[in-house]
């Protein structure tokens, strides 16, 4: 039941959004971490997994280690670590945490599973 509802909404959304969003548009994702902490590593592996599943070859992940480049934190208003920032497509979305909840990440990124 819930699935059908979801499918329905995604279908509706697709029809609305599709003209603005060409398929070859690459997703630019930025992951802010601070050193190789357990949380950072979990976040990165989770992110890669979701992207492979839903955005195969249509994504770019840039990992920024704030311990190396602390001045970059202000630009994206980073407070929490790890933070995932979706730069493209706009609007900018941010997801904080180790991305362990797939459902939330996908909703947060406004990412619909294409293989389903």
């Amino acid at each position: 039941m819930a699935k059908t509802v979801k499918n329905k909404t995604t279908k509706e959304l697709k029809s609305v959004i599709r003209p603005n969003k060409p398929k070859n548009d690459k997703w630019q994702l930025r992951l802010y971490i601070a050193g190789n902490t357990a949380k950072s590593i979990t976040a990165l592996t989770n992110l890669k997994k979701y992207c492979e599943q839903h955005l195969s070859n249509r994504y770019e992940i840039e990992v920024i280690d704030l311990l190396v480049n602390p001045q970059l934190a202000a630009g994206d208003q980073i407070l929490a670590i790890p933070t995932l920032v979706r730069k493209v497509p706009v609007p900018v979305r941010k997801i904080i945490g180790d991305l362990s909840n797939e459902e939330k990440v996908l909703v947060g990124l406004d990412l619909r599973p294409i293989k389903k």
Binding site: A34, K39, L79, R93, I96
Partner: protein, 576 residues
């Protein structure tokens, strides 16, 4: 856990001066160095300004670079807001003395999944600290983060970590927080920042606001625990260090004239003591302001600056009114010796008045301060509050060696002796001017209720205000009590008449004697004439007698001669 360590540190607790007027005096040196301080208060209490002043003054006055991390205002807004205080944040940033970071978290674009920490904030802060080698940090208002993150548990533990991290970094930090219900802060930040807590308050009483500052807690240091009023003006925050009554000030035995010669005479001939406090009380229209103006004038003539607070009249009004009694205040204002400041008591709270006066005194450095009249302050606060305020004002002024003159209005004639605002016991000299009503007219009487440390006159004088100025006239003491005003004048006239009459009478007697003398002299002269004529008469008869005698003698001799010849020539005789 960490307590024993702190306790051992108490003796050598380092402090960082804030540079905020008065605050360092309250805290004996400033905020605890290298530790975070919580500044809490309601919206609009002045938290942001307090912390910005701390950072900016640190950069300007103590060459300690600082970081401003704001969580609500944008950096540009912030710059504009403090530009009115003369702080040029842009320049400070260019000089590497200031780092502004605006932390903005938009809840709507953030999704939370799984575990996270606030390392980003730490890194930003660390980066800022390292970049300019900052010694001071302000976080305004970090509580905003509570609205930005879902997971309060994480946030709390991260904040706790942040504060201890700040401590480890050895920066002196100010964290601002909104006042909560029944708590110092809305989210209980006081749990984490335990070294020093400063509370700012904005209290409105009778529609008049007073800003108050209180050091709630200062671990390891002595600090004033009172609520200290403070003022925000073009120079930023000024806190008034309300010192407890310290009766240790040095006193001066120098005497200064009050401007009215005859009043000086009443005060042992020399006037008031320098640095003393004088209260002039009286019913309406008795010339209190005139006395005050004379005092101001005298002070300016001595080339001593005078600060005149008028709570009733505007400066031009006072100048005009005083010109009518021959006191030219305008020239003193122009020469910079006198400052007339007119404020309505209701302009701001009592304590703010105190701070304002305090500040002005520090700035203008007067030798004389006049408050005219203090009675009006009651419209702002209760009498007891006014008393405590005046007491502190007196303390401050006397510690500075400033002579202060209050005027106070007394309404109730019966109660005229009742202490005006209860400060009569605090002042050194108390002069009362009261109107004495008799014979259908009102006159002013002046007398010295007390004057510590001098032998003053105990008499009532009549106090006359004329276009030439103020004057004290000896009242007439008659069998019916004291006579003043026209009664005194009448009495004086009467006395004068009596004197005239007496002198007239005397002169008439003189004349009579003169006349008698003349008469007698004339008599003497006529008697002398008489005597002379008698004498002449006598002389005449004497001469006649003499002549007669001579003639008779002659005749007898002739006769004798004839007889002798007859004897010899008898015949001849018969021929004859």
């Amino acid at each position: 856990m960490s307590r024993p360590v702190k306790k051992s540190n108490t003796t050598a607790l380092e402090k960082t001066p804030t540079g905020i007027n008065g605050f360092d005096e309250i805290t004996n040196g400033g905020l605890p160095a290298g530790r975070p301080t919580l500044v809490c208060g309601e919206a609009g209490a002045g938290k942001t300004l307090f912390s910005i002043e701390f950072v900016v003054r640190g950069a300007l006055q103590f060459k300690e670079p600082g970081i401003i991390m704001v969580f609500e205002e944008k950096a540009e807004d912030l710059e504009m807001n403090v530009a009115s205080l003369g702080f040029n944040l842009k320049k400070l940033q260019k000089d590497g003395l200031l780092w502004i970071d605006h932390v903005h978290v938009n809840r709507s674009e953030i999704e939370e999944t799984g575990m996270y920490d606030l390392d980003g904030l730490f890194i930003r802060l660390a980066h800022a600290i390292d970049s300019i080698n900052a010694k001071r940090v302000m976080l305004d208002t970090i509580e905003n983060l509570f609205g930005s993150f879902e997971n309060e548990g994480i946030l709390r533990s991260e904040l706790r970590r942040l504060f201890s991290w700040l401590k480890d970094r050895g920066v002196t930090a100010i964290i601002t927080a909104e006042k909560g219900v029944g708590m110092l802060t809305r989210h209980g930040l006081e749990e984490y920042v335990s070294d020093c807590v400063v509370q700012l308050e904005h209290r409105v009483e009778n529609q008049i606001s007073t800003r108050l500052l209180r050091v709630v807690k200062y671990r390891g240091s002595l600090h004033g625990t009172n609520e200290y009023p403070f003022l925000i003006d073009e120079d930023g925050i000024s806190v008034l260090p309300v010192t407890s009554l310290q009766l240790e000030r040095e006193v001066s035995s120098q005497r200064i004239s009050c401007g009215i010669e005859s009043l000086d005479t009443m005060l042992g001939g020399k006037g008031f003591f320098r640095g003393s406090s004088i209260l002039i009380s009286g019913t309406p229209g008795t010339g209190k302001t005139s006395i005050a103006a004379y005092f101001a004038d005298a002070s300016c003539r001595r080339k001593e600056r005078c600060l005149y607070y008028a709570f009733e009249e505007s400066p031009p009004q006072i100048i005009r009114n005083m010109q009518s009694i021959n006191v030219d205040l305008k020239k003193h204002i122009e020469s910079g010796m006198l400052q007339l400041i007119s404020t309505r008591p209701t302009l701001y709270g009592l304590e703010s008045h105190l701070v304002a006066i305090h500040k002005k005194v520090k700035q203008f450095k007067p030798r004389t301060v006049i408050l005219d009249p203090i009675t009006n302050l009651v419209s702002v606060a209760s009498a007891s509050e006014v008393k405590s305020m005046l007491m502190r004002l007196l303390d401050f002024l006397q510690a500075e060696g400033i002579t202060v003159l209050f005027t106070a209005l007394v309404f109730d004639k019966e109660n005229a002796l009742q202490a005006d605002e209860g400060i009569s016991s605090l002042v050194d000299a108390w002069i009362q001017v009261r109107d004495i009503e008799a014979n259908g007219e009102r006159n002013r009487g002046i007398y010295i209720m007390k004057s510590r440390g001098m032998n003053h006159s105990k008499q009532v004088r009549e106090f006359v205000i004329t276009s030439k100025g103020l004057e004290l006239v000896d009242v007439y003491l008659g069998p019916d009590g004291i006579l003043i005003g026209s009664a005194r004048v009448a009495q004086e006239l009467q006395e004068y008449t009596g004197k005239e009459l007496r002198s007239y009478a005397a002169s008439r007697k003189d004349q009579a004697i003169q006349r008698k003398k003349l008469v007698l002299e004339a008599k003497i002269a006529s008697l002398k004439e008489e005597f002379e004529s008698v004498q002449e008469e006598l002389n005449k008869t004497f001469i006649e007698e003499q002549l007669k005698k001579e003639i008779i003698e002659k005749n007898r001799q002739e006769l004798t001669k004839n007889r002798n010849s007859r004897i010899s020539e008898n015949g001849k005789n018969s021929k004859k």
